[in-house]
């Protein structure tokens, strides 16, 4: 029998499975108090899923406030939407706006790599779509266990194929991302996906249900029993022995339907038929209805029986919780409903009117003619529990910091340096990622100006003016482990720098905070410090955090993953024809290094690859310097002074030279500056640095630019031989130390992943 509101009021003493649904005793008590009675089983289902860590941010909220306290302004002016919306929206000039956000799908991707990653793409794309934007690009920051671990052979190919299978079918170019291996991710890979969308200012949409009498329309896929593990507990209790049929353990995506959903939704926007909109992601209908209602006029009335089902045995509890993919919910003026449904029909997208917006201040759900839910939506969506979890700096932190890399044996002399460079270029973390990125369509939509292995993806937004956006993601978790505050700032600095290196002006930040259990005070300390570092860093750089995602409980057994805040930065190029690529291609171009190299090798890729060592303090953070460096790079690109530019990060200058030489097919002759230690020159990972190749005749102006910004700059060499057609085989030469033919370098750099995964 259905547990109605009326029935619940009459039967206060019925035992309810709140604990099995993940609620705490005090949380259950609070629900009873809010309602003035026990919840119905449908209400219990809604509260339990909406008050979960994933939906309520109950452990992170107190810290994330630091982001909302930042000025909501980019260097180009006020943000058009910020944290709290499905995704943040920033003005990029010329009447255009961009929206972007990164999300995680870590746990599902371990269980079923292909579908987990695929549905991760689907989810973030709907977030972007819900803002009114056309999705234009993806980036996929990924973390896996050791490259040679047997399980990585299962997880990595599946995840990559899943992202490719879904993203390519949607027609979204994947233009960047990361592939990082570390043993802490064995058993808990991180699959984060960032989506960027573009729209005109006037097209920004928000998630709210306003206008009493407006209709609530569910459109997209039919609802099945996906992702409702916990609720089966409820359902079976409610339904006695004649339990529901088996529920899927894995969600399967339908990218074709999502593609139709995108085109259909954009047409609905274009015709002005959408008064409010929300995607259905985690917590499905529970989330969409309660969030839309609480952000609007405060009330909604829906008839649950009308939801089109894929599996007729679903109970109302399950329908409310189902996380079936490829669904959206819109609020539509009554006069527009017919036209709305017609557009959906044109695209073969099922659409159903479920109910309407009310001003009762209640979310009311009917099932079989009876009321099964009657709750104040804000108590579900925005006024959930908030915890100040205890946090404490772990005791082991001091020992970690004390164990610096200074006692590790270093290569000496040309031959050892040469060998080290080749070994690092071939290490999984630094090796070419072509095996992965070749599975992604980078050309679709015809607007990709730069894509991997460039420092940032660059997408042309307006073909006439050349306006474009650049996006990069970064996050060196080893640095975060050593010092979460500084490490998070280094992640921010690197993504910011990667955007600036292409000539784009950085505007805004999104982040995905992947951490262990919030119930572990040590993890909570890492989290709190990382958030504080990121927020403080954004303040110095003058960029807002416009949205993001928190993923807790990333651990295998009791061991948490390395604390991994992934930071995404979005920038703007007024004219993408001015973008700076990273490949060395013009022989004779002078090479300059910007910034200061210190003997900073703690937490470096060298310490990791050669010694398997992690300890000490991360490189010094100087965000003021990062800002000036970005200004130089953006100005230099605008003035046409640069042939090429590449930021220095993992693997130091050596790695940057390897990548730029191989990308452009040219060699380089590099000289270690007087009085500099060649090892640190090549492998230190000091921040706020870049290497640039100057355009002909640009030297004087470029030096002047650096002087104006009071920035250290040094000539380190010259690009040697252009292209594969040249008579001399190109080489990377470190004067007086070693030379390596590009062919040998390429073999080392490009064989690693194919050898592991083919």
């Amino acid at each position: 029998m259905t547990d109605t509101v009326e029935h619940a009021a009459k039967t206060p003493d019925v035992e309810q499975p709140w604990a099995a649904l993940g609620l705490r005793g005090d949380e259950y008590a609070r629900i009873r108090e809010t309602l003035g009675r026990r919840p119905t089983s449908c209400e219990l289902a809604i509260y339990s899923v909406m008050w979960s860590e994933h939906c309520s941010y109950k452990s992170s909220k107190v810290h994330l406030r630091r982001f909302t306290e930042l000025p909501d302004e980019t260097p180009l002016g006020k943000t058009l939407a910020g944290i709290g919306e499905n995704a943040g929206v920033v003005d990029i000039g010329q009447g255009y706006a961009a929206t972007f956000k990164v999300e995680s799908h870590n746990h599902p991707s371990f269980v079923e790599p292909y579908q987990g990653a695929a549905t991760g793409v689907g989810g973030i794309v709907r977030d972007i779509l819900a803002m009114g934007a056309r999705p234009v690009a993806l980036l996929d920051p990924l973390r896996f266990g050791p490259a040679d671990a047997p399980d990585t052979r299962r997880v990595l190919p599946g995840v990559v194929a899943g992202i490719a299978g879904y993203g390519n079918c949607l027609g979204l170019p994947t233009v960047g991302g990361e592939v990082v291996f570390d043993s802490s991710y064995a058993g808990n890979p991180l699959v984060n996906v960032l989506c960027v969308g573009v729209m005109r200012h006037e097209d920004v949409h928000r998630a709210h249900a306003s206008g009493v009498g407006n209709r609530v329309v569910l459109y997209g896929a039919r609802t099945g029993g996906d992702g409702i593990g916990g609720v089966s507990v409820l359902a079976s209790e409610t339904f006695g022995d004649e339990g529901p049929s088996k529920r899927p353990s894995v969600q399967v995506g339908d990218p074709f339907l999502e593609k139709l959903l995108i085109e259909c939704t954009l047409e609905l926007f274009g015709e002005g038929l959408v008064a409010g909109i929300q995607d259905l992601g985690g917590a499905g209908l529970s989330c969409a209805t309660s969030e839309l209602a609480s952000a609007g006029d405060g009330g909604m009335h829906i008839t649950l029986d009308r939801v089109p089902l894929r599996d007729a045995s679903l109970t109302p509890e399950e329908i409310l919780m189902s996380e079936s993919q490829e669904r959206m919910m819109a609020v539509v003026r009554p006069a527009d409903v017919e036209r709305f449904l017609a557009v959906c029909a044109k695209w073969d997208v099922p659409a159903t009117v479920l109910g309407e917006v009310t001003d009762t201040g209640r979310l009311v759900v009917e099932w079989a003619g009876e009321v099964v839910v009657d709750v104040p939506p804000r108590t579900v969506a925005s006024e959930g529990p908030v915890y100040q979890r205890p946090y404490a700096r772990p005791q082991a932190q001091d020992a970690l910091i004390a164990a610096g890399s200074d006692r590790l044996p270093r290569p000496a002399g040309g031959a050892e340096l040469r060998e080290t460079l080749l070994r690092m270029a071939a290490a999984p973390n630094l090796s070419a990622k072509t095996w992965v990125t070749e599975q992604y369509d980078r050309y679709v939509q015809g607007s990709t100006v730069l894509a991997q292995p460039e420092d940032a993806g660059v997408i042309r937004v307006d073909a006439d003016s050349g306006l474009g956006v650049a996006v990069a993601t970064d996050g060196n978790a080893r640095f975060v482990a050593l010092d979460p505050y500084a490490g998070a700032q280094l992640a921010l600095a690197e993504a910011y720098r990667n955007v600036a290196v292409t000539g784009a002006r950085p505007l805004a930040v999104t982040d995905c905070l992947n951490f262990g259990s919030p119930e572990d005070p040590g993890v909570m300390w890492q989290f709190a410090e990382a958030v504080r570092g990121l927020a403080d860093g954004c303040r110095v750089l003058g960029v807002p955090v416009t949205g993001g995602n928190v993923s807790f409980y990333n651990s295998t057994g009791d061991t948490a993953v390395l604390p991994t805040p992934v930071v995404g930065v979005l920038g703007v190029l007024d004219d993408v024809r001015r973008r700076t690529p990273l490949g060395f291609s013009r022989a004779g171009a002078a090479l300059f290094q910007l910034g200061e190299t210190r003997d900073e090798l703690d937490g470096s890729e060298w310490a990791n690859v050669v010694h398997g060592h992690l300890g000490g303090v991360p490189p010094r953070v100087d965000l003021e310097a990062e800002r000036r460096l970005a200004e130089i790079l953006v100005a230099a690109s605008g003035e046409g002074l640069l042939d090429a530019a590449h930021d220095l990060a993992d693997g130091g200058l050596a790695q940057a030279l390897v990548e730029s030489c191989l990308r452009g097919g040219s060699g380089a002759r590099v000289e270690v500056p007087e009085g500099t230690d060649p090892f640190a020159f090549l492998f230190a990972e000091s921040a706020a640095r870049a290497v640039v190749a100057l355009s002909p005749g640009a030297e004087a102006r470029f030096s002047e630019l650096c002087a104006e910004h009071d920035y250290p700059v040094e000539r380190i060499g010259v690009i040697a031989d252009a292209g594969p057609d040249s008579r001399v085989d190109p080489e990377l030469e470190l004067r007086d130390l070693f030379t390596i033919p590009l062919a040998e370098l390429r073999e080392a750099h490009e064989r690693t992943l194919p050898d592991l995964f083919d």
Binding site: C169, D348, Q439, Y443
Partner: protein, 223 residues
Amino acid sequence: MRVGVVTFPGSLDDRDAVRAVALAGGEPVALWHADADLRGVEAVVLPGGFSYGDYLRCGAIARHAPVMGPLLKAAGAGLPVLGICNGFQVLCEARLLPGALIRNDRRRFVCRDQRLRVESSASAWTSAYEPGEEIVVPVKNGEGGYVADERTLDSLEAEGRVVLRYVGGNPNGSARDIAGVTDASGRVVGLMPHPEHAVDPLTGPSTDGLGFFASLLHRVAAA
């Protein structure tokens, strides 16, 4: 010249094809899969993408779309048709072109800048190239392996109907490195590579793809 570009549900590169037609000096005309006629166009491009999700076999469901009725008829009467990637698959499914395209030999999607040799400039869509000319154009496909029985392959070769071949590595296991073929009339051409992504140096590896679209216009101008 009015060149139709068909959009099926799941088409992705239709806008690129429109842009390429316009860049080559043609007048692109959008055609919808459910259209009952061809709106008087003088040639048609079937673009790349995942029509109907490519869930059964690539192009197998799109082949039955309403617009394909008039298209097949017009092609029989000499209408030039270019199928790119998914469009090639549709043309094979519709038997306008011989053979079929199956899952790549390495069983992964592949997107790369591909060197190609134009083997024949006798078709309506390749006349702007010199025979033997090498070009670089993106390939991107998961089911791009061209197959046909040996006899068909032999006759394609003998009749000069292989218009495009992969060089410097076969990305998908296609028989005899075949990247594009034409029908007996030389008017219907199918290509696995994507010339519409190689029309602007800013967004493609080259502008080598323009010739396919220019061929058509140039042929008509010459006629």
